[in-house]
Symmetry: C2
Subunit: 770 residues, 2 copies
Amino acid sequence: MENGYFDDIRKEYVITNRFPRREWLNYLWNRDTVAVFSQFGDGNSWSLIGHERRSIEVGERLVYVREKEGNTYLINSRSPKASYDAWECHVGLGYQTIHWELHGLAVDVTFLVPSEGKAIEEEIQVSNRSSSQLEGEVIPLLRPSVALAGHDYGKAEKASSFCGLLYSYLGYHISSPDPYLFLATDEPFTSFEVSGERFRGHYGTYEDPAALRDDKPLSSAPLSSGSDFIGALVFPYALKPGETKTVHLTLGVANDEREASALANEFTKPGTFAKEMALQKEKNEAYTGVFHLESPDKTLNSQVNLWLKRQLSLGKDWGRVYGKGFRDVTQDLTAFVSLDTACARQRLLTILSHQYEDGNPIRMYEPDFYYPYNDGAVWIPAAVLTYLNESGDLSVMDEKIPYLPGKSKEHWNLADAFCYTDYQGTSYRETVYQHLKKAMDYLYSSRGERGLVLFLGGDWNDSMNAVGLKGKGESVWLTIAAVKAYREFLTILDILGKTEEKPLYEARLKTWQDAILSYGYDQDHWIYGYDDEGRKIGAYESEGPQIFLNPQTWAVMAHLTDEKTLAHCMDTAEKELICDYGYRQCYPSYTKGDDHIGRISYLQPGMVENGAVYCHGVAFKIVADCMLGRHEEAYRSLKMIRFDNPKNLNNGMEPYAISNMYIGPDNPMAGYAPMSWITGTAGWFYRAVTEFICGIQATFHGLRVTPCLPDDWDQVTCSRLFRGTMYHITLMKDNASYGEEDGNIFSGNLIPVDERKERYIRFHVASKKD
Amino acid sequence: MENGYFDDIRKEYVITNRFPRREWLNYLWNRDTVAVFSQFGDGNSWSLIGHERRSIEVGERLVYVREKEGNTYLINSRSPKASYDAWECHVGLGYQTIHWELHGLAVDVTFLVPSEGKAIEEEIQVSNRSSSQLEGEVIPLLRPSVALAGHDYGKAEKASSFCGLLYSYLGYHISSPDPYLFLATDEPFTSFEVSGERFRGHYGTYEDPAALRDDKPLSSAPLSSGSDFIGALVFPYALKPGETKTVHLTLGVANDEREASALANEFTKPGTFAKEMALQKEKNEAYTGVFHLESPDKTLNSQVNLWLKRQLSLGKDWGRVYGKGFRDVTQDLTAFVSLDTACARQRLLTILSHQYEDGNPIRMYEPDFYYPYNDGAVWIPAAVLTYLNESGDLSVMDEKIPYLPGKSKEHWNLADAFCYTDYQGTSYRETVYQHLKKAMDYLYSSRGERGLVLFLGGDWNDSMNAVGLKGKGESVWLTIAAVKAYREFLTILDILGKTEEKPLYEARLKTWQDAILSYGYDQDHWIYGYDDEGRKIGAYESEGPQIFLNPQTWAVMAHLTDEKTLAHCMDTAEKELICDYGYRQCYPSYTKGDDHIGRISYLQPGMVENGAVYCHGVAFKIVADCMLGRHEEAYRSLKMIRFDNPKNLNNGMEPYAISNMYIGPDNPMAGYAPMSWITGTAGWFYRAVTEFICGIQATFHGLRVTPCLPDDWDQVTCSRLFRGTMYHITLMKDNASYGEEDGNIFSGNLIPVDERKERYIRFHVASKKD
């Protein structure tokens, strides 16, 4: 059954099947508010309070219709028994509209998160598409989060200073932040309910609420209680054929009653919703022009031109929503830097202020997470370098920013690693350059007896959380990543003209290369590392997995050694790790828990890091394939982890987002994609397509074009905005190798920056790499 | 519609209506585990980890029947559409049994919490009551709490070393406490499911799960995931007429796989469940003999003889479940001291170790709560005195126990008062006597400009949480309570023979009496206090309530002044505060939020402290009425807050528990009792009946008998176990006033202790007090 289609003209994905394998999620957000929506409209929303999150509402976002002398029905029922004359869900850039028709009445419900503030907005349009007068009531319902702590109280009542309902949290603390919620509307309502219990009836359900079983108005009574608050408002309609009634609702957060009232009145001014819709479209379209792809792969075009950018910008604003991983923010930055360069500069300064004075960053902030991670530093040079390459702005290097106080290990806390206290920066500030250098020096100082970088509580692989807790285990992958980081740092030194600094880092890099070649290679692949007991991980002699994907791909990305060895290891990975759903993170999966390894060994085979197709890792592989000129392997990998992989059509994925993983083949739920949106894969997938398959890369001195196109692509056109110039680049496959601009032919692949606003360049590239 | 009946022979309450106004709850617990059960069997359970709680399972506890070539149905459906040939829920002492019959099959499901350990147990009996062979499957389902933190994982699989399922929490912390759960059974199962999603189907419900729509076995597949774990086991049955199949399940917590396995095997040994049932009955019956009432009021007999004691013992073991309020534990102690004197001694030592070195206790422990409360000290002397009176054990006074370190105010934290770190006791220890004396001295040191005790962040009235934060507001009620506390302390000094200490405390007591008479009286009642701005609370000039119940009743209990004035104030309370559901806590309710008063002013009229019939306060009133000889007022008050108040039959209360409150008459939900079980009312109600209406009070020198019987009670018999002697006391109403024992007549009301094991005493009392 088809689940829906991309509508590229309206920049929407239209879901046509109410019941895909699992809920299809959409995120709507601004910098203060984030909300999730399923195809039924339900989900949760939160706003920021300092470094914490305040729940705004949870679960159901319902709309009932009570026909005059007719039926009462829930238009967004999850029950397969409920059927409608028409149903569609339009997932838009910054909004979501659900459309129903029944008995001649069409209802369109649109949700958005306004461009600023702590609120969600909802528009309900009720239209008469029949040939006779239709009368009844439309009743939207939300579930505001009022009582925020276990034993505390909340209150709800009709507002006196605006049209709507006012909710307040009554905690022990007379001055908790943001204790008010308002549900404001621009249309008069005839009755309301704030108690879920009164609405459903004590043994009732939202599917069949007691309060709507007859024609009575809702109670319109207030409530003080511990939980179970709702906001349901009754709006009557009487529509001639062709007529429409529109109602707007805003559920928002406020610090006091006065602010609630002011915001409520502001949000319900005529035209506010339409203005916000326009702003959302504008905001989201602003950066969609930065890179435009016209390839023979229409789905990839939709993904790259719209949806990957959108997923990436969720990461930009909210990290992984549950918190901001140092590693996640830096990686997202390297991907969105072209889409929002100013924000990338700001993020760079923010993340470096989450680095301790010894150069090692904290694992995660907002909330802070004090587990002993050692991989933070390796992600920094790429973030700095991509920013310099994109912007040409060297001034960032001299910005002075604070450190987290002291040495990172003074803060590690195995017993209680999550901490919700806000970090207070030290007064000790240094430049971005010095932060960067300290990160590089920290990595070299944190080596074990083999000269490799210590594992501690984990590296990229979060589930390998016990492998180095005794301070002896060493990570081959992390050392490869350190080599890559050093190469980037050396490039930065070149850009800055600090060539006198290079020999020291070149020498260290060589030391690491030697150590990896001595201790990190096993017959035909790079191993993952050594645990505290000195046992090899990811080698043929290992219990559990004998090969991991990331060391093979990162060795390529790090130019670790000669291309032949790198390619040989990639061949091994290709052969050992492929499955119908993509490439496994490791093989075979752990089948026995091991307290010297950690969580990965306890996860069931095929789950997450333990042998799932972890898409983040597959995105690394696409990049590595391209770097080795393996265009078919790259494109095959890309298509395998896409929602439309023909061998895995029942994977459950939203077509408009990239999955975190597909469960691996040795698991009973093989192929299923339970988690979407919140993943670093979006950024790497975007970079893989734009910088490696299309091959258009920003460098400090200009755009470099080194495409690696699939066999069946004869021609690709990309528009890329870079330093104020729009480059229209056409890649032609015709067994040649030269560029053309304004009739002039040139060789090489670097396009130096100049002053023109628009440039049209054609590259003639080989149809087969070899 | 009748909801059920007391079965005093089987010591059960039998619920016969599946749908009372709200769920009827039952608590089952031991010292490590507490679980709630509705009449459907569903609810939550927790176990203790240090000072915190670990969720064991949440929500549904279901049982499905899948008939061979017949129907599949959920036997504990909440849907009114589901109907059975028979249904009953037996609420027992320490267990709960739900009975269903459909199509000739009877299913009895019994839950219990074993007498020790972190586990809940379930017995399922399937019986053929038809005249032909019945075949099918019975499928119990629980929802274990596996992944305990937001971004962490859990795992579930078939156990290899016991019959059942093994669940484990896979957090970042390799060594979180109690990460394992086991679901063990003593019968073979043919298939199982651990994934809620697979069981329900993604858009399915527990009411109509996808996995049971056909005859297929459950998936029997393992799961690693973030949430949505279940445990469903398929047990086939093939029963001849009259045959029964029995299955036992245990869901328990363990620290590692080995312990899980050992416990699982232990719990599934033959006869374990039956032994636990016997232990539960024994354990719960052990103290039911301590006080036995035979009055003309049969319902009161059931309450006093069984159910109040049970509710009280929940308080004894778990405080208010969400935490252990200092005030709550001390009050519960004064009520359960006769039922479990050894435990009372232990609790006394525990609570005094939660007192700071300055004499003021912490507001709550487990978890600790650092809000600036000032009422803790007034509850201590009653706890000490009732223990001495009951036990005659003076040795307790010399026990040395630690303090919380420093002064209480150094620990107050308005912004973040809840703290989950365990308290570390100081090495500074003093005797119980010194703790008690420091408490008394603290109170006197904490007076305001009128000489009354300071309010700070609250007294008994938790919702008056802003009235004294500036350190100026003074509480009249708290000062009355201090007078009562001093009287109890003076009695203790008498018992200890420390009469040289008395003059100081008598003088201070007098100062307080004078201050209350000067500043605490308004025309015809005692006011509640003064806020930080110097405004009177609970006076005729006040905005908001002009009278509060507690100062009037406590003035009587404290023997504050002459009986005429006390009675006059009680008359005012009687007149102003009565309503159909009992007596309001205050009148009129606050209708406008006031940041100098606090949460009470923001609560809606009629809710909780803001004008509800707060039953705890009504229990104080029954005591005060009795102390003034107002037997009709006392008994009327008692009957009004009972589940069977004829003016409020639709209150929603479980007949086998006492409510925390009935919502007040100025609220749209007037009369409703939303919260039961977790309330100090149980203890005071128990004391009101046994010590004040029946009038049988323990004193240090013997039992004192000062009954205050209702008019329509001609005769009451009470059996009271006191210091090893069972007193069979008959109270005869015949306008006389003397006692009779073994044919000897005596005057006075004190029965001195002697060596006999059984004594039969008859009191002839006046039929009307006046």
